[in-house]
């Protein structure tokens, strides 16, 4: 079994990533950044894919919705996939627009049968137009989504099982939601179909306050990966039987590349500890 640990491709990190490609197993590129570009620019993406293993990550399809996903966006995703030839692609279990309004980011949908039905139909539409289905990622939310009739772990499990989808488990999103809404992150992990988890995201965040002083943990990708997230990675490593692809996401306040490479090594260490526990238990 070979786990792999990589980094989110960001233009600001390009020089550091390319200089230290021997310590980065793969990169994850934001697909939506390439939706509007022409052939010449897509060649750059193909060149990148020739130099380092690459996966694609979508942020704007809005799959977890009762509204059918936009066919033009799926066609754009198909074009980028064709150019980049990634090992896989992923998208969020989120809705990002409603009633003609763009929310601007990932919003937690009502966790209901209607959303599961909509997400399943959208996954089928993606399979038809793009040619493959994305891994589905759990999202961080600052609001307990209204209208829900099940908890988050059950919702993610139900979508994955109904849509026959694989999962990208974002462990900082899981950590943030668990502290914000007071549930046990390990119980969440145990409620998921672990065999469907193929990839993992790690990131950091910060505490923010509402006008009344109540605090919530924001997943902002601007801070170091906290220890609690590495602990969850170890726990996942101890439970999973399949190779995992782990991506560290950083979207700004960039530290020196050495610090990010150190986070990749910490992730490798956490996974190795988890794998060793599973072997001992067997």
């Amino acid at each position: 079994m070979r786990d792999r640990v990589g980094l989110g491709w960001r233009a600001e990190l390009a020089a550091g990533i390319l200089t230290h490609a021997d310590r980065i197993d793969l990169v994850e590129v934001i697909a939506d950044d390439w939706f509007e570009c022409g052939r010449r620019e897509l060649r750059a993406l193909r060149t990148l894919g020739a130099q380092v293993p690459l996966v694609l990550h979508g942020v704007g399809l809005g799959l977890a919705s009762s509204v059918p996903v936009d066919g033009h966006r799926l066609e754009a995703m198909a074009r980028v996939l064709e150019a980049a030839r990634p090992e896989f692609w992923s998208e969020h279990l989120a809705f990002v627009r409603g009633g003609g309004r763009e929310i601007g980011h990932l919003a937690a949908p009502p966790r209901t049968a209607a959303t599961i039905e909509g997400a399943t139909a959208n996954l089928d539409r993606a399979r038809t137009i793009v040619g493959s289905a994305p891994l589905l990622e759990n999202i961080a939310t600052l609001i307990d989504p209204p209208g829900s009739d099940r908890d988050e772990a059950v919702f993610v499990r139900d979508v994955a099982e109904t849509a026959n989808a694989e999962l990208l488990l974002d462990l900082h999103n899981l950590h943030a939601n668990s502290v914000n809404f007071g549930f046990d992150a390990l119980a969440y992990l145990d409620a998921l179909p672990i065999h469907r988890i193929h990839a993992v995201h790690l990131a950091g965040g910060r505490w923010i306050s509402a006008s009344g002083g109540q605090r919530r943990l924001l997943d902002d990708h601007l801070h170091d990966v906290p220890e609690a997230v590495f602990t969850l990675l170890e726990e996942l490593g101890a439970r999973s039987l399949r190779p995992l692809t782990v991506i560290v996401e950083r979207d700004g306040s960039y530290p020196p590349i050495a610090a990010l490479l150190d986070e990749l090594d910490q992730a490798r260490g956490a996974l190795a500890r988890g794998r060793a526990r599973r072997v001992r238990a067997a």
């Binding site: 950044d33 390439w34 750059a44 009633g99 009502p110 307990d144």
Partner: protein, 86 residues
């Protein structure tokens, strides 16, 4: 369940400050006027108000920092980095 209407109202609450203020003054009335069913109206009347405030702020920050211009810049810099390495 009027799922589309529910999502549309949530999107409005997340992005429109005045709509959010009106809703917080009269959540049941706002939800009823949006065509929602009684169970949906109940859920919105009990909405996580702290979460709504923080989510709306977070989404507004994201809208302010994302866009086609930023994507184009990222692509150009990616191309430049690869060209320099070649």
């Amino acid at each position: 369940m009027s799922a589309r209407a529910f999502e549309a109202l949530l999107a409005r609450l997340y992005t429109d400050e005045q709509a959010r203020r009106d809703f917080l003054t009269d959540p049941r009335g706002t939800a009823a006027r949006a065509g929602l069913e009684p169970s949906e109206i109940d859920s919105l009347a009990a909405i996580d108000r702290v979460g709504l405030e923080l989510s709306a702020e977070s989404f507004a920050r994201k809208r302010a920092t994302r866009g086609p211009r930023r994507s184009a810049w990222r692509r150009r810099l990616t191309g430049l980095a690869l060209w320099l390495r070649a």
